[in-house]
Symmetry: C2
DNA sequence: TTGTAAGCGTTATCAA
DNA sequence: TTGATAACGCTTACAA
């Protein structure tokens, strides 16, 4: 059998209440007693049982983290941010993958509820009424991470996707590009896609600028390359491209280069995410950088504020994005 | 206050034991009673409290997953494998990052103990006596994932790193390379590094083959590029290279190409991991593929066997690796 | 087939 | 400053 708080109490010649007190520092204990208890703990190799503690205190010091897929590069970076801050505040995270499926997401929120997590960091393509309803029903503090509630009823941490793409497009325009192409997934796929397309369109409203959009069926290098290649058969070559990711940006670069076009002379390209990929192309890729780690970290920090009843100024945190200028643009 | 099993019992007009029985299917319950209970659960929106259940049953259905850093590409892929199988067996995972620091690792094992996890999937550079001791003390089933106990006291899942590099080197030799270079981190850094270097040396024992090793100070693209560039100043150009990762392989390729060498004509290059990166270079990178997802999945599966007292044939599982031939080799 | 009641290992509320 | 003791919400003998 395992050593319990009761064993420690007996060993130290005090009551279990006192042991609990020195363990949690919830009340003043005479220094001498405290030492006795600590020594007993040491001697017995006692470890408090977090489950029992969770039951008694109704707080598990555990956060549910629901993501579409940890193995996605940008997500694992965010998760790292979440976990680091969680540890800092003495929380642990239960990590689950939803594969971006609504039913599974709802189900997972329920499971988190059963697990009595103190809070949830939630990530998904979009937030639907079903989500909101479940959150409310479960009565668990939630922070949306890189995800937004259109009605802003749930706190969230994001960057301004619209402005990010807008800035990128403006940069191209300011550097003499006038035939712009945005390459991404179908805008219907997620809130952030819609936001990006919106930014692109806004930037292209100038006179003399033509804009076009290439919707990819998926966001892998191979598909992007092929579909761009196909696109070029029937469309004039753009001289400015913004891609939804560095991987797609790289595919664009290769598709163009393989047709004999020069980057950035003939066409300038901007990627997205500032992954290591952007460094490994020739020329190196200019890219829009999202502070992924920070998005995770700030989400978790925001959640801790709710959990500790700290005052919260901003419910919808917007983190600044950045453009990293390399050599695929002027 | 939350709905408890007691509320359900009253609502259904049965005892809480009966409710527990229909919940867990631990005993036969009359169909009629079962229906009553189920309806009561439905009406009340009851969710069992996993913490209370964990305390009473002494099993939390939770697995601790200790990794150096989730945000590392290959690790997040493994974690995904772990989580998928965990879900399949109705477990959840608590994920923690150790940053490969011994002290933190030991500490985390202790925390997992407090959390009363049913088992641990452990990943680290190496397994030291301190680890083993802590595992034993905690009395929690552990599976080492992509990590090995030199004395094989703890079950583990790996690929045969020695053979993987050996195979790669043999491939190069069979394709007329006779000046081989292995590029990796210092062999002292981890068990797997040592294993790889060993495989390389073994393959190079043939007459007429010269082998060399370049130890990188870190494994990023930039550093690798620079250190290779420096290396080439004072060493003859190898005609066959095996890199410790695709990223490093890519750096090698670029360093060579920038000096005017042709890949694979002048020098053949083999990467490691079969990441998406390998597809994105020109020429595309031949690479040694580790089944990362599977390593995670099999680790977790193995752990479930221990947890459910299923018979286990192999304590040290070795998964097959693979060579993906592309265009950086003949 | 069902009910009773004793844990599980803490925290938290009273008293002392 | 400390000690009893009642929760916490469930599982699990043991009875019935």
């Amino acid at each position: 059998m395992n050593v319990t708080i009761y064993d420690v109490a007996r060993e130290a010649g005090v009551s279990m209440a006192t042991v609990s007190r020195v363990l949690n520092g919830t009340a003043v204990v005479k220094e001498e007693t405290k030492q006795k208890v600590k020594q007993a703990i040491e001697r017995l190799g006692y470890r408090p049982n977090a489950v029992a503690r969770g039951l008694a205190s109704k707080r598990t010091k555990t956060i549910g983290v629901i993501v579409p897929d940890v193995s996605a590069l940008y997500i694992s970076e965010i998760v790292r941010g979440i976990e680091d801050i969680a540890v800092m505040y003495r929380y642990h995270i239960i990590l689950v993958n939803s594969d971006a499926q609504l039913e599974r997401e709802i189900d997972l929120i329920g499971t988190m509820w059963e697990k009595q997590v103190d809070g949830i960091v939630f990530m998904s393509k979009q937030v639907l009424p079903d989500h909101i309803e479940t959150f409310i029903q479960a009565q668990i503090p939630v922070v949306l991470c890189a995800t937004e509630d259109p009605e802003r009823r749930i706190p969230s941490v994001n960057i301004d996707y619209t402005k990010a793409i807008f800035d990128g497009a403006r940069y191209l325009i300011d550097h003499n590009a006038n035939r712009l192409l945005y390459v991404g997934d179908p805008a219907a796929a997620s809130i952030s896609s819609q936001a990006r397309v919106k930014g692109f369109k806004e930037a292209g409203k100038d006179s003399g600028i033509s804009i076009d959009i290439l919707e990819l069926s998926d966001l892998t290098y191979e598909t992007s390359y092929k579909e761009m290649d196909y696109f070029l058969d029937s469309h004039p070559v753009p001289n400015g491209i913004i891609a939804v990711s560095d991987e797609v940006g790289l595919a664009m670069m290769h598709a163009l280069q393989d047709r004999g076009f020069k980057v950035p002379e003939d066409v300038q390209i901007i990627g997205y995410d500032n992954t290591r990929l952007a460094l490994m192309s020739r020329p190196q890729l200019t890219t829009i950088s999202q502070p992924l780690y920070d998005i995770g970290a700030v989400s978790m920090r925001l959640l801790t504020k709710f959990l500790q009843d700290e005052p919260v100024e901003t419910y919808s945190v917007v983190l600044p994005h950045d453009m990293v200028i390399r050599h695929s643009t002027f």
